[in-house]
Point group: C2
Chain length 158, copies 2
């Protein structure tokens, strides 16, 4: 499986966290997502379509979500409210958007960012897609980037 | 707010359940999604992009999910396993796909279907999007269709 595309999403996350949040990220080992992959309580989800279809999931521990939102909004937040949800959606949008411009051969478009909340929720992919999970650690705590990405066969593009 | 688009998703859901599952659906009253909108334990989510961006969420009670999967796969399922997840994703894909063809002025593309599991999870939308929630009842139990849909300004299309 060719997985070079994941590098665009990794560098995009790194850049987004540095520029938007003034927050360094330390990357762990990318691996195929499985039952042992980290799960967190708030996940930004955005769809990709074009010459590939896919999904970007930015899954954050509660502390990372509220600290990131507090930094973006320049206003302290202590729990998951609408502002934190919007901030997580916007971060996910930025990660997907910056990666999209690096992957221009796929002519990607992004959909709306949605944000999933709920303890122990899981974002699952179709079984024929093998998403890659990349764990990160920040000064605020852990997070994970998951990307499922399937190039579309030329014959399917009309 | 113009909400005619929701009719395409409603008729698409009705048609998909009838043809794929041999299951009549009884529609409740569409309303803007709010804290009182029904929530269920398994949700198919698919992104839309093109001359509009959006998300289709098909949120199913456990019983509807396992019965629908059992019918589609012609094999009894009693709990949420990979087959049920794939079936819910495929149903969501079909609902979005059929609506897309009715909304051809928007030149919509769909992303990958993801499926969210987890008790009391919630799929949230950006606060500037007002998703419409449509409840349904079937012989297997309740479900809800949620659609967030924002036409893209012409000036943003390059």
């Amino acid at each position: 499986m060719r997985v070079e595309y994941i590098n665009s999403f990794i560098s995009s996350l790194d850049h987004t966290f540095q520029t938007m949040l003034d927050c360094e990220v330390e990357r762990g080992q990318p691996a195929l997502k499985d039952d042992l992959s980290p799960k967190f309580d708030i996940s930004g989800v955005i769809g990709l379509s074009g010459r590939a279809v896919g999904t970007v999931v930015l899954s954050l521990s509660m502390e990372v979500a509220v600290q990131a939102a507090s930094h973006m909004l320049m206003c302290e937040h202590g729990e998951i409210d609408d502002d934190v949800v919007d901030a997580v959606g916007e971060l996910t949008n930025m990660v997907a958007g910056a990666a999209k411009s690096q992957l221009d051969a796929y002519q990607l478009q992004t959909s709306l960012p949605n944000v999933i909340t709920g303890k122990d929720h899981e974002v699952r992919f179709p079984s024929d897609v093998k998403p890659i999970c990349v764990p990160f650690v920040t000064k605020w705590g852990p997070l994970a980037l998951e990307v499922g990405f399937s190039p579309v066969r030329e014959s399917a593009l009309v």
